[in-house]
């Protein structure tokens, strides 16, 4: 993977590790054993690049021996006409039933630290 492609994920992983360490310390923990993240496929973050950045950055943190689990969220929109949610398959967010474009993206941009295992 060329370095230029993972720069964005490196900065996100730095933020994630700082957040994880802060939360672990607040609960009195000395080590982080695993991190769980949730990323939407429209968040602009690539799971593989995130793993790569995690392995590269975890060394000098409380998470030095930790594993990273990433759950991906497929994008979904709400269609006001059909009063139903539909999975987004293209960039135009078109409802597959009535073919109207939706502006109400309900899922797919998540970028969150879900949980930690610490001790």
């Amino acid at each position: 993977m060329p370095a230029a492609d993972i720069v964005h994920e490196v900065s996100i992983m730095q933020s994630t590790l700082a957040l994880a360490e802060q939360q672990a310390r607040q609960s009195g923990a000395a080590a982080i054993h695993s991190l769980r993240m949730r990323i939407g496929t429209l968040s602009g973050v690539v799971a593989e690049a995130l793993q790569f950045a995690f392995q590269a950055l975890k060394a000098d943190t409380l998470a030095a021996g930790a594993t990273l689990e990433v759950e991906e969220v497929r994008p979904a929109c709400w269609c006001g006409e059909c009063r139903a949610e539909f999975e987004v398959t293209d960039f135009l967010y078109e409802c597959p039933h009535c073919h109207r474009p939706s502006v109400d993206l309900r899922r797919g941009r998540e970028l969150a630290l879900v949980s930690l295992e610490v001790s």
Binding site: A18, L19, S27, A112, L116, S119
Partner: protein, 269 residues
Amino acid sequence: MCQECGCSQKGPYKIDGQPVGEVVLSGGQHAMVEDKPAGHVHTHSHAPGHAHPHVHLDLNLPVLAQNDRFAERNRGAFQALGLVVLNVVSSPGAGKTTLLRKTLETLKGRRRAAVIVGDLATENDADRLRTTGAPVVQVTTGTLCHLEAEMISRALAKLDLKNLDLLIIENVGNLVCPASFDLGEGTRVALLSTTEGEDKPLKYPPIFQNADAVILTKTDLAEAVEFNRAAALANLRQASPKARLFETSAKTGTGISEWCDYLAGLRTR
């Protein structure tokens, strides 16, 4: 820095020709995080052989990359000041600077406006806009293909914000990357010129999708370039379903008053 096109990492950039150093947000960290307490905590019984029990921390906290952190800070400042802020994006040559010049001239006396303009190099656009008498700050990004929120917070220091109603950010001409970089603006404006072809909104959807207003520019040239207006408007409605549409010619003045009335009616958000 830009994961979209692989343009080089943010290097030295200039504001009004003066190089700026690196900025670090208060707290000292370069990559910043949301500072919220943990959600609920529970301990499970630890596996035999473990020296310490493992504790599960449920957090569900958003992770913000550095640009988002700066953007949120800018947004807060704009809201506190009651400042309406536009982020104007388009391909190079779509007519951003010419439209903004006309806009500043038309709004004179109605709204106190200033511009932050981004280009890779030269002060040419700033010079063009300064002829209107409005305060203008030029950011030259070097090799970076878009403006970032941190550049905006730097440029704000050059403006007398308390005596402004409207701040217009003219982004670097680029239909791809600026879509991914929030600057903290309340209103995003995308331009499509008649000379670019009717299907641009379908070829570059993200930049149009995020737009609150879309302006079809250079309508005076439509006939000469055999522009298909109906097709362009249909494509724009598909790509930008939530956007207000305007059709303008900065040269003849067509549509400028509708556009300026819309701007004058915007509130901070």
